[in-house]
């Protein structure tokens, strides 16, 4: 990505500023809208608890999609095991807080560390694999770690772990939001360093990258560890926020597919693509999942949407911002021609 491509035209910039202003207003006004004290004082509510929960979930998926983007989008290694980092982060906080009595803040510092160390251990052998083989091997790691956790008594086995409930929508919203900002900043910084250029070189042609002096093993493992640390941090926050974790809610492979979708639909390999994808897709999912009997139709809708996005806008919606492409029939025809038989 060159400097010229990064410069946004004013039309797009204005809309980005507008969206950012709304988001910022929400963030700043949030304390007025949700804390119980404000409710008791009769202050007007801008949002309700449900929306707070949704906003926190959106922020969480921004972290997960951005984390996946670092290894999947920048480095080109489509990991289906990132959910293992999320689960490990969650269980680290769970065990330290519940079983060992650590304060949450201290446990939260440990979560990304544990996830990163795990990424280092599995990354060294697995990052030698490519394409489908890497995807499956990481998928296997995700399934296997979840299953082991599900069978170990000290980790609550199939019952799961209950954490002391902390009643504060605000704390978790801001924690998640802060982590999301951290994830985006990390991606932004990586893309502006030698490290980032190394990762892009590996994505485009690993042999060539090695030839020009990129230490590919170190770069790949480091990217995997950074992705793991961010994902693990989100997992740690989720554990305390949800105050209940088990195999199903922190090791769900569907979550992993979802973070990939978000990054890809938004625009993999870009800084803001995963953010756009996470916000759009999570809001669609939450809206579709509204009704009870409508759940089936929402799944069909999601599947069709996914197929349409993959077929017609494979470079992600971020492609339309920045003036590189315009949303038009010609664009659809062109992308179709590029990929179809």
């Amino acid at each position: 990505m060159t400097a010229a491509e990064r410069r946004l035209p004013s039309r797009v910039r204005r809309s980005v500023v507008a969206i950012a202003a709304v988001a910022l207003a929400f963030v700043i006004l949030a304390p007025l809208t949700s804390i119980d004290a404000a409710q008791q004082a009769g202050l007007p509510l801008l949002t309700d608890k449900l929306w707070f929960r949704i906003a926190t979930t959106v922020a969480m998926f921004v972290v997960l999609a951005s984390g996946w983007n670092i290894i999947g989008g920048l480095t080109g290694y489509a990991s289906f095991g990132n959910v293992a980092f999320f689960g490990l982060g969650a269980y680290t906080v769970g065990v330290l807080v519940q079983n060992l009595g650590w304060p949450f803040a201290l446990a939260l510092v440990a979560a990304p560390g544990v996830a990163a160390v795990f990424a280092l251990i599995i990354g060294l052998p697995l990052l030698r694999l490519r394409g489908h083989y890497f995807a499956v091997a990481t998928l296997g790691v995700g399934v296997a770690v979840g299953e082991v956790v599900n069978n170990v008594g000290a980790l609550g086995a199939s019952t799961g772990l209950f954490l002391p409930i902390v009643r504060s929508d605000l704390i978790f919203f801001y924690l998640m939001l802060g982590t999301a900002v951290l994830a985006v900043l990390t991606t932004w910084i990586i893309l502006r360093t030698r490290f980032g250029y190394g990762l892009l070189a590996i994505r485009e042609n690993e042999e060539a990258a090695a030839v020009i002096g990129v230490n590919t093993t170190f770069y790949k493992v480091a990217a995997f560890c950074v992705a793991a640390a961010l994902t693990g941090l989100a997992g740690g926050i989720f554990a305390q926020w949800n105050s209940f974790i088990n195999q199903e809610n922190v090791f769900a492979i569907t979550d992993n597919v979802q973070m990939i979708l978000m990054a890809v639909i938004g625009g993999a390999g870009t800084v803001l693509g995963p953010v756009a994808g996470a916000i759009a897709l999570e809001l669609i999912i939450q809206t579709l999942a509204g009704g009870g009997s409508g759940a089936v139709y929402s799944q069909i809708g999601l599947g069709v949407l996914l197929a349409v996005c993959i077929i017609f806008i494979p470079r992600g919606v971020i492609d339309f911002f920045g003036g590189r492409s315009r949303l038009s029939l010609r664009y659809f025809r062109q992308t179709l021609r590029e990929t179809s038989a």
């Binding site: 999947g72 489509a78 052998p125 697995l126 030698r128 694999l129 394409g131 489908h132 083989y133 995807a135 499956v136 091997a137 998928l139 296997g140 790691v141 399934v143 296997a144 299953e147 082991v148 599900n150 069978n151 199939s158 597919v257 990939i260 979708l261 890809v264 089936v296 139709y297 799944q299 069909i300 999601l302 599947g303 069709v304 949407l305 996914l306 197929a307 993959i310 077929i311 494979p314 179709l336 590029e338 990929t339 179809s340 038989a341």
Partner: protein, 289 residues
């Protein structure tokens, strides 16, 4: 000792089911370079057809297998020709995600058509088996293994003894060269996927005879087909057969190992899988090219 023999036999019988599930998956992966995440859903479509024919018309499950194959062949051809062909030249991840979306749609449609209730096919002989000394071999499992081996033979014959098979192999080896010598790529892609889907349908028919089916029952089979192909290696029918039988054995023997239980079935399978990948990234019997 006879306990161990019984376990080995059960493992091989279970492996037969994995062979049936993995044959079509392996064909589509090897030729089209698509990891079909909707494979399990196609398997379950076959299972529902068998169930429907059994409950409404009382047709023996093994007799309805050709119907499964035919129906899934048509569905598979339409899916590839109409949808997947559109992204066949896109990066791996895109076909991966597209098939995940197709999986979501099929599972949801099954949910609408058949609800989430458990359905089972119970022919009169479903409880009985062949008794050899202290060892029991359930008839339906034996039938499943035989059908799986028959399928493997049919696939081998199609690929190596017919003109269409030669075209399919040519497309798998080099798409552009195949097109140059006059192979209609779109048709061969669709045909390959259709054959894979037809095999999935037959596998589903077999599965319905020993397991209760629900719309989501196929998802584990996609993962297991994956594992089988990795274990055996891509590109040969015999490798898939060996991989499937080995995977069934590993699963049954692993679960009966002291200290491990049925809760570790997937973990054992995937630890083995990851180790195979690390030692031999192309599978135990896979071709190097």
């Amino acid at each position: 000792m006879s306990q161990f023999t019984q376990q080995v036999i059960l493992g091989l019988l279970l492996g037969g089911v994995y062979v049936a599930v993995a044959l079509g998956f392996s064909l589509v992966w090897g030729i089209l370079n698509i990891v079909n995440l909707a494979h399990g859903a196609l398997v379950i479509v076959g299972a529902y057809i068998t169930w429907d024919l059994f409950t409404r018309l009382h047709i023996d499950p093994f007799l309805s297998l050709p119907v499964d194959a035919l129906a899934l062949f048509v569905i598979g051809y339409a899916l590839q020709r109409g949808v997947i062909n559109r992204v066949i030249r896109a990066p791996l991840l895109f076909t991966f995600l597209l098939t995940f979306g197709i999986n979501l749609v099929i599972v949801s449609l099954l949910l609408l058509l058949f609800t989430a209730d458990f359905r089972s096919v119970t022919p009169s002989y479903s409880g009985s088996g062949l008794q050899l000394g202290s060892i029991t071999i359930p008839y339906i499992r034996l039938g499943g293994l035989l059908v799986a081996l028959l399928l493997a033979g049919v696939l081998w014959a199609i690929l190596n003894r017919t003109r269409v098979g030669a075209a399919i192999l040519a497309v798998g080896a080099d798409r552009d060269a195949a097109q140059l010598v006059g192979v209609d790529l779109r048709h061969i892609y669709a045909l390959t996927f259709a054959i894979g889907a037809a095999f999935a349908g037959v596998a589903g028919g077999i599965i319905s005879t020993f397991q209760s089916i629900t719309p989501t029952a196929g998802d584990p089979y996609t993962l297991q087909a994956f594992a089988v192909v990795i274990l055996g290696g891509l590109g040969r029918v015999s490798a898939t057969v060996a991989g499937g039988l080995a995977f069934g054995l590993i699963e049954v023997l692993g679960q009966s190992t002291p200290g491990l239980g049925s809760g570790y079935a997937n973990a054992i399978a995937f630890v083995v899988l990851v180790m195979v990948l690390i030692v031999r990234p192309r599978g135990l019997l896979g071709r190097l090219a």
